[in-house]
C-alpha cells in the first residue's frame, strides 16, 4: 500500500494508525512563524469507530490503508455469517458478527448496505438510512390515545426495539431512521 505525505492529507483519506485502518475526518496544518510545521488531524478508527486526534510532523509519511467501500445487497444470515451480494457482478461477500455489529438489527433482505473492506475483509456494515420493518410485539392495550406523548416500545421482526406512537399495532410495517433508531412513519402495505 502507498504511503501518504502529510501534504496529501484530506478528509476521507484512509491511513494506518496503531495497527488499525482509519479515515481522516479533519486535517489542520499548523505553521508557527518560527517553528516546526505540523498537522493536527482527527481520524476515525474504522474497526472500533473511535474518533481520536493525532499530530504529525509536516512532511512525514504515513502508511496508507487498503480500504474500499462497496454497495452490496443483504441476502441472508447462515447463523455465523451475514451474506451480501453485488447486484451487478453477483459477487458475494460474507461479514462476521464483529463487522456487522449494531447493524444486525436493521438488516432487511435486498436492502443495499455500505460495506467497508480492509485488505478484502469486511470490517464494517452500514445499513441504509431508512429501513422498513414489521412489528412483532407491542402492547395492544394502549389503543386510542392518538395525542399520546411518550408512545410505547415495539419489538421489530429483527429484534430491534423502537418507541412508536400508541396507535401503531402488531403486524404493521413501520419506517425507522437507522442513524437515530427512531420511528418515522407507518408504511401502507
Amino acid at each position: 500500500m502507498a504511503n501518504y505525505s502529510t501534504n496529501e492529507f484530506k478528509g476521507g483519506l484512509k491511513i494506518m494508525q496503531d495497527g488499525e485502518p482509519c479515515s481522516i475526518v479533519e486535517n489542520e496544518m499548523v505553521k508557527p512563524g518560527k517553528g516546526q510545521a505540523f498537522n493536527r488531524v482527527k481520524i476515525r478508527k474504522l474497526i472500533s469507530g473511535k474518533v481520536v486526534e493525532k499530530t504529525f510532523k509536516s512532511g512525514e509519511s504515513v502508511e496508507g490503508a487498503d480500504v474500499i467501500e462497496l454497495e452490496l445487497a443483504y441476502l441472508y444470515n447462515d447463523g455465523e455469517f451475514w451474506h451480501f451480494m453485488n447486484n451487478e457482478t453477483f459477487e458475494q461477500v460474507a461479514a462476521d458478527a464483529k463487522a456487522v455489529g449494531e447493524a444486525e438489527k436493521w438488516l432487511v433482505e435486498q436492502d443495499v448496505c455500505t460495506l467497508t473492506l480492509w485488505e478484502g475483509n469486511p470490517i464494517n456494515v452500514q445499513p441504509p438510512n431508512f429501513v422498513e420493518l414489521e412489528i412483532t410485539e407491542t402492547d395492544p392495550g394502549l389503543k386510542g390515545d392518538t395525542a399520546g406523548t411518550g408512545g410505547k416500545p415495539a419489538t421489530l421482526i429483527t429484534g430491534a426495539v423502537v418507541r412508536v406512537p400508541l396507535f401503531v399495532q402488531i403486524g404493521e410495517v413501520i419506517k425507522v431512521d437507522t442513524r437515530s433508531g427512531e420511528y418515522v412513519s407507518r408504511v401502507q402495505k
Binding site: T6, N7, E28, M29, V30, K31, P32, G33, K34, G35, Q36, A37, F38, R40, V52, E53, K54, T55, F56, K57, S58
Partner: protein, 319 residues
Amino acid sequence: MADWRSQATLNTLKKRAELLRQLRSFFFDRDVLEVDTPLLCKHGVTDLHIENLETRDSEDNCRYLQTSPEYAMKRLLAQYGHSIYQLSHVVRDDPTGRHHNPEFMMLEWYRVGFDDEQLLAEIETLLTSVAGAPPLLRLRYQDAFIDYLQCDPLTDSGVQAIHQRLKDDERTHSWMVSEDSVDTILQVAFNFYIEPQLPLSQPVAITHFPSSQAALAQIDSDDPRVARRFEIYWQGVELANGYYELTDAVEQSLRFEKDIALRQSAKLPYRAADELLLAAIKHGLPRCAGVAMGVDRLLMILCNASSIEQVLPFSYQSA
C-alpha cells in the same frame, strides 16, 4: 467552467484597502519611511523552519523569493539609521492552512533607538488605532508555562516534565516518543497547552523566548537563558514576531553557522549566510527593535473570517 471568481466579498476588499491605507498613514504620522526592498535576492534564509521558493533568470542565476524583507531592510538601517517600514508580499514554501497562504502580506517595521518594550507600546497603539484592540497584555514565556502548565521551560527538569506530558498525550504520543529537539518540544507544548488558554478578546505579547529560539534577537543581559524576542497572539492567531535586534556581527555570523549546521543535519537544502547582511552589521546596525506582522491575519480578525482565503483577492490555490 473554471472557478475564476474571488472568494473575498467586495466589502472585504474595501476593508483590506482601508487597512493598508490606515497602516501607511500610521507610519507617515510617525516619520517612519516606507521602503520597498526587492522580492528577488541572491540569498535565502538559513532558518531551519522557513523555506524559500527560488527561481532562475535566463542566464541561470538563482534568485530567492524573500520570506521576509528583514535582511535588505537591515542593510538600509545600517546605512541610513532611519526608522523604516515595508508593506509587501512575501513567499514561503509552506503548505496552505486555515491561517496560512504561502504568499502573504507582511508588515515589517524597524524603530531606530527603540528597545522591545518601546516597540511593544507602539504595537499596542497600532492595534488600537487600526483594529480597535483592547490593551496589550504582556506575559513572559516562562510565566506562561508556569501559569498554564506548572512547568518551568528554562530548567532541564521542567523540559523533561513537559516532554513527558506530550508523550502521555494520545494526540502527540507517537511523534514525541522520538522527538529530541527541546525547541520543538516546547513549541508543540505551547501550541497544545498554552495557546488555547490565552485570552481571546485581548491581544497578548509573549515575551522573553528561550535564547535557543532567539532567531535574530539579542540575548537578555539580565538573564542569558532568554532572548529579547516576542510574539503577539490575538483571537487564537499568531499575529506578529519581533526582536530587540541583534547588532553584534560576530554573534550574527555564529547564528548563521548554527542554522546552516541544523539545516544540514535535517537534510534540508543548503542556504549560504547572507554576506551582504553580515557586512552591513559589521559596519554598524543602530540600536533598534523590529517586528513583522501578518496583515492578512489581522484582516481575518477585523472581518471575523474563519479562513485566510476569505480575505485574500485570490488564495494560492485559486491564483
